[in-house]
Symmetry: C2
C-alpha cells in the first residue's frame, strides 16, 4: 500500500477527479462544476486513528472521501461504541449533522485517507442558484435514507452468516464501482469493527471467515480477502441457501 500521497494528487479538481460520477458534481454542467470547485477546500491527508470530527462538534462542512476509509460511529451509553458505517471513496460524510448544526456521530480514519471538504453554508447558497445542484443534494440525502432499509433488514432478520456475506458482497460491489477489484481487496477495518457494525460478536465473525474459507467461498488471509465464488456469496447473503423456508413475521 502506497502511503505517500503527493499534494498534487489530492489537489481538488472535480472535473479531473477519479471519483467521476460517484460524487456530488454528478449531472452538473461544466460551468456549475467550476463554481462548486471554488468552494471546496483541500485538506491534508489524514492518518489512521485521526478524527475527522467527533460527536457534538459543531458542524460546518460535509466531507467526501477521496481515498482511504473512514468509520462513523456513535458512542453508546455503556461506554462502548456503535459503528454506523464504513465510508469509501466517493461517499459523503456528515449529512446527519445538518439538522442541528452539530455532529451526531464521530468519524475516525481507518487508513491513510484524503477528503474533500464542502463548507455547507456555501454549498447551500450555491444550491440556491443552481437548481440541478439543489436537486442533486436532495437525491444524495434521499439515497442515504433509502439505504437504511437494507441495514434494518440485515440487523432485524438475517442470521450471522447472511450478515457477513451481505457485508462482503456490499464491499465488493462498492469497490467495483470505484474501479477496484470486486474479488480481491483488503479490509481496512478490524474484525471487532465488522462485528460491531453487523451486530455480531468478534468471535462469530472470526468463525464465519473460517467457515466461508472452508466452504471455498472466500480465501481469507488476515485483512486480505479474495472472493472465490461470488454467486454463492450472494446466495448466502440473500438467505436463499441452506433451505431456510422461514416465513417469520410475514404479516
Amino acid at each position: 500500500m502506497n502511503r505517500v500521497i503527493s499534494i498534487e494528487s489530492i489537489k481538488v479538481a472535480c472535473k479531473n477527479c477519479s471519483l467521476g460520477s460517484l460524487c456530488l458534481p454528478m449531472g452538473l454542467t461544466p460551468p456549475d462544476v467550476e463554481k462548486l470547485e471554488k468552494i471546496i477546500k483541500r485538506n491534508r491527508p489524514l492518518h489512521r486513528n485521526d478524527h475527522l470530527f467527533r460527536e457534538n462538534d459543531s458542524f460546518s462542512s460535509l466531507f467526501v472521501v477521496k481515498t482511504g476509509t473512514i468509520k462513523t460511529y456513535l458512542p453508546r451509553e455503556d461506554g462502548g461504541e456503535q459503528v454506523l458505517g464504513f465510508h469509501l471513496p466517493g461517499e459523503i460524510i456528515g449529512l446527519d449533522a445538518i439538522q442541528d448544526e452539530r455532529h451526531t456521530c464521530s468519524a475516525k480514519v481507518l487508513e491513510t485517507s484524503a477528503v474533500c471538504e464542502l463548507p455547507f453554508g456555501q454549498l447551500e447558497e450555491l444550491a440556491q442558484v443552481i437548481p440541478s445542484l439543489q436537486h442533486q443534494m436532495f437525491k444524495l440525502l434521499s439515497k442515504e435514507i433509502a439505504e437504511e432499509g437494507k441495514m434494518l433488514t440485515l440487523l432485524g432478520k438475517k442470521n450471522a452468516e447472511e450478515r457477513l456475506a451481505s457485508f462482503l458482497a456490499s464491499l465488493s460491489c462498492r469497490f467495483k464501482r470505484r474501479g477496484f477489484s470486486a474479488t480481491d481487496f483488503y479490509l481496512s477495518m478490524s474484525r471487532n469493527e465488522i462485528g460491531n457494525y453487523l451486530g455480531l460478536a468478534v468471535e462469530t465473525v472470526s468463525r464465519l471467515f473460517t467457515r466461508f474459507q472452508e466452504e471455498g467461498v472466500v480465501r481469507v488471509d488476515r485483512k486480505h480477502i479474495e472472493l472465490l465464488d461470488q454467486d454463492r456469496l450472494e446466495a448466502v447473503a440473500k438467505g436463499s441457501l441452506c433451505a431456510r423456508t422461514s416465513e417469520s413475521n410475514s404479516a
Copy 2:
C-alpha cells in the same frame, strides 16, 4: 376512537394546522407558508389497509401524516416484509424516493388516517426561491439520517427487553410532542408488526408485555398501553438496569 373525519377537519391550512411546529412550515415566514399551502393537495381520508404507495410506484409527492398512523415496510426476498417504521402525525413519508423517483418501500395505513400531499417537483421549485424552505428541507432529510443511528444501536446491541422498552419510550415521547398523553395511548400496530420492526418474534413481544406488566412498569390491555413507571422504562430502554456491565465490542 372517532372514525368520522369531516372534510372540514382535514382542509389544508398549514397556518391553522394542529401540527404546528412539527411539520414542514416550521420556521417559515407567514407569506412563505402561504406559498407552500398553495401547492399542498388535500387528500381524502385513508382507511385501514389502504396503501398510500407501494414499492416501485413512481414518486411524485411527499406525504405528511396529519392524523392516524402509517407503516412503511420493505418486501423481503423470502416473501415476508420488513417494517421500517411507524409514522405518526407530523412525520413525513417518501423521502427515500427522491433519489430515483421511485418509491423504495411501501406505505400502508394502520388506522383511519389523513395525509397532506406535497408534490415534490413544486416543492423543489419553491425551495429554489425560498432559502429558508430549502434549508428546512435539508434539515428534514438530515434528521431522518441522524435518527438511523439509534435504530442501528437498538438492533445491533440491545436485547429484547431493551428493544421493547425503547419502542414504548419512543412512542410515548412522540405522542407527548403531539399533545397526546405520554402515559396512556393505543397501539395502532399489531404485536406482529412490533416484533417485525424490532427484530423479535411475536411470541417474544407478547411475553415481554406480560413481564413488563407483572413488574408494574406498564399496564397492558390489548392495544391499550398505560405507562406506570416511565423512569424505570427509560432505564430498561437504556440497558442501565439489571446489572449488565457489558463492554462488548467496545473498540
